[in-house]
């Protein structure tokens, strides 16, 4: 079954589909430096990620249905695109030692608190492993999309996408 077909049945892209689309940073990539992960594989008319980027590292261009492209040389990992994406499709992931970290968008209340233990989940919402909240930021600029940083075992660096909703 094609990745596209699978996504249209399960609701979320598979690792294989993301990899084929060039939207899945490798373990080595994430060890080298934090990577912006944009899981935007459908041509929808949307470009706030591009306009949010102060370093012109993100390009959609014209027509605005182009898929976004990230220039990792220009990207400073500022994370502005995470809350700017209306599709909540952008995260930043990194690996250091035996830990991985993810910065992900979060629009459920109550917000988690730093230090809290949570369950990390994969793209199908299945629990993967325990995670620890490092920080939660929600400045006015984010327009009510909080950005949560969580730390978890590096084994799950590619699978992890968010945390379990009712853990907050």
């Amino acid at each position: 079954m094609s990745g596209e077909m699978k996504r249209k049945i399960e609701g979320a892209p598979s690792l294989d589909e993301l990899k084929a689309a060039g939207m899945l940073p490798s373990i080595e990539d994430m060890e080298r430096r934090p990577c912006v992960c944009i899981e935007c594989v459908e041509e929808i008319p949307c470009n706030p990620c591009e306009t949010s980027c102060p370093n012109l590292a993100l390009t959609v261009g014209s027509p605005i249905t182009n898929l976004p492209e990230i220039d990792r040389e220009l990207c400073t990992i500022c994370g502005l695109c995470i809350a700017a994406c209306p599709g909540l499709a952008i995260t930043i992931k990194s690996i250091q030692g035996d830990k991985a970290r993810i910065r992900f968008p979060w629009e459920y209340l109550p917000l988690p608190a730093a230090g809290q233990e949570v369950q990390m989940v994969d793209r199908l919402g299945q629990p993967l492993c325990a995670g620890k909240i490092i920080s939660v930021v929600n400045p006015i600029r984010n327009n009510k999309t909080a950005v949560v940083t969580a730390e978890f075992p590096r084994t799950f660096a590619q699978e992890a996408i968010s945390m379990r909703r009712n853990d907050a």
Binding site: I9, G11, E39, I44, N47, P48, P86, Y108, R165
Partner: protein, 368 residues
Amino acid sequence: MARSNKPAIVVGAGPAGLCAAIELKKAGASVILMDENSKPGGQLFKQIHKFFGSQEHKAGVRGFDIGRELLAESMELGMDVRLDTEVVGIQKGLQVWAVEKREKSYTIDAGALILATGATENALSFPGWTLPGVMTAGCAQTLINVHRVLPGKRVLMVGSGNVGVIVAYQLLQAGADVAAVIEAAPRLGGYGVHTAKVRRSGVPFHVSSTILKAEGSQSVEVAVIAKVDERFNPIPGTETSLEVDTICIAVGLTPSIELASLAGCEMMYVPELGGTMPRHDEFLRSSVPGVYVVGDIAGVEEASTAMEEGRLAGIHAAFSLGCMDEATMKERTGETIRRLWALRQGMFGEKRHLAKKRVVEKEGGNLR
């Protein structure tokens, strides 16, 4: 062109109607904006998600904030907004009959009439569909986002188009659990980014599935779903019971064409855009001189396209009323058409793009 002394009447103060009225007012036309509801904004105030598009389409802004901006702009322009006002008749020569607050009834000679009456959610009937707890997705969205009332604790969403998945997400945000999102087609309908955020929250999707019945003594307690074959017939033996107290129906919308019909607008059937709708040209002019149709009445799309259609018709109506010169009208409509078509690009927009093109081409690009 001589300036008309008759006002333009805009019916419906949703995104399309507000934008049409704003363009008319900015051009110096006399405008009356009517809405049968007690608050303007149409469905914008229950859209709590960030919109797609580009900056010029207000992408990244949440729907209710767009609503606030449009209302503030209308107020600054000194718009004559008449709420709780139903348009109940349209006679030849654009005589618009309105009933205000169920107290006053009057007719106004309109120079132009812009119908922005929106669309109505489709129903789905099944045994138990009249039980309390069965409602349209838009109803649930109004309850949670406008009235701040959670309709239930555990919800089944029927339909996986953008309305279904967005409302499923918003029900989760409001504190409900979503037992499943089911879809009769073999593929999910909504944007992948919407389905992905619902799925990672732990909500299962079931394609090729339908609802067979709702059960419960006083209200919904159980929904029975089943798989369907290629011809959408339920497959015996595949029934599953879900314990839910709410069933939301998100199976499409149909243009609300009553007033256009009353005005004598010719209709055409466009299944991709919700069914029967008034024929119109690229400036949203219907077959009746002076009557424009904008937003979901002219084919069900999105708030962002509705706003651009409203602007387009508002600009053209301002020109037709003698409030704008032809060069300005051409320039302004040109840029609006460009923004509008940008929203209809890509795999999701293409179907609507082709359907709209068919509607407009049927008019030869020019009705009169």
